[in-house]
Subunit: 238 residues, 2 copies
DNA sequence: TAAAATATTTAGACATCTCTAATTTTAAAA
DNA sequence: TTTTAAAATTAGAGATGTCTAAATATTTTA
């Protein structure tokens, strides 16, 4: 295993008889953001959407998108938005894999709560070591989901897409299990904690207000009224 | 807890009623390098020594040293070398604490060998999270030494300086316990592994060759001849 | 479909960290 | 003590990633 250095983010490492290129922290964060915005692949991800997601300016996004395009990580046509290429998708999935494995580690081993892990995982996901991640995966006993219910891609980037529905899409009388959250902000997660709403619990829609979509739900032995701000961010498996 | 951002490395976080400034990856690595070179504090650390340690050019070192001086992390007078200030020392020790805790984690929990941990810890040491480190410390049961026998500073930066001697400084007939290694390169560590030389083992100097300083040592039930390249990099506690 | 509003890109600049080449200072040798 | 060698600094520039302001393209609305 030999290495060639040309600045810190052009490190190229010979791994398993193929060249695996390393990307900068910025590049990795962009790829991940594009992946997350790319759920509905009819149109490319827009510059402004990416700027919002990355907390930066549209002009910075244009610059970076050009750079990613030069590296064949995205497909980009001026004014037409951006898509991940196959290689960009693979890279994004590896970063997401690392992010979610670290989140599991923080919660399972270091007593972090699910609202504390995201920020730290945002940094840990960029550590460069194949062995670190495969060993971490083994240490955690190959978890399939992160603390927020999101699937963890395996070393090949494969993962199960759960068939889940937003609570807000359920009708009166329907019930299921809470399997994930859409909004993973500390604010939302703390709200859920405060109201004893957790992964794995059974939820039934007792009543649904047509006017504003708010619901009266039965969650285990607790009855609770919740707004659409809440129901539109909870995933249910029926 | 509120945050103010001005570029990624000017993040200032209000922690425990005092301002704790965050430093860039480069700044942190420089501080650590100065600390390690600063063992004999008669003269300041020279520009060239730092350049060698940091694998960079002397002119780059001069630039960075000025920057660190502006931030009061080092005391620097042109052509006179550089010293860590109290605040620089504290910062360096916190990074070293993180580095060594991660090394313990990698060996104890993820089955890394002692020659594999340094490179990864070099990245992990820069993750910004007080909680991460205090929880990691707890998870590892507050280890006092890293896999190479080096002391781990506590949260206040305090650590025990072991009274240890280089094996090369022992005379014929003297013996003691292997408590540390000076050279932590994978090459040296693999040499030690290959010859069953490990921390905690008892070593006795059976014979010492005056001509080249090489020794015949008895290590547990094994007899071995070693050069000064080896003996000058092994720490013994008598 | 033309005007207005919005989205995106370009131009030019700045901060950080790095480099090479030239200059200056200090240390060593004659 | 002068000369020479080594060490350190300065000058100038490049790469990366960011920003503001101006220009251009696209979409929406009238
Ligand atoms: Mn990140
Ligand atoms: Mn998550
Ligand atoms: Mn480092
Ligand atoms: Mn170590």
């Amino acid at each position: 295993m030999s290495k060639y250095f040309t600045r810190i983010n052009l490190i190229v490492t010979f791994v398993r008889s193929k060249f695996m290129v390393m990307f900068s922290l910025s590049e990795e964060n962009y790829l991940k953001a594009i992946f997350h915005l790319q759920t509905h692949p009819k149109a490319g991800v827009s510059t402004n959407a990416l700027a919002e997601e990355m907390q930066t300016k549209a002009s910075s996004v244009t610059d970076m998108v050009k750079k990613l395009s030069d590296k064949n990580l995205v497909i980009y046509k001026k004014y037409q938005g951006v898509y991940l290429s196959e290689s960009g998708r693979e890279t994004a999935l590896q970063i997401i894999r690392k992010h979610r494995l670290w989140e599991v580690f923080l919660v399972e081993k270091l007593d972090f709560t699910w609202d504390e892990v995201h920020e730290v995982a945002e940094e840990l996901e960029h550590i460069k070591s194949e062995k670190l991640i495969s060993e971490l995966d083994k240490f955690l006993d190959y978890p399939k989901r992160d603390p927020h219910g999101d699937p963890i891609p395996d070393a090949q980037g494969d993962f199960q897409v759960a068939n889940k529905t937003l609570l807000s899409d359920l009708s009166k009388g329907e019930k299921g299990t809470l399997v994930g959250v859409k909004d993973t902000s500390p604010e939302f997660l703390k709200y859920l904690d405060k109201n004893d709403i957790a992964l794995g619990k059974t939820i039934e829609v007792v009543d649904k207000e047509e006017f504003d979509g708010s619901m009266l739900i039965q969650i285990e032995d607790q009855s609770l009224r919740v707004s659409t701000m809440v129901t539109a961010n909870i995933f249910i498996k029926i």
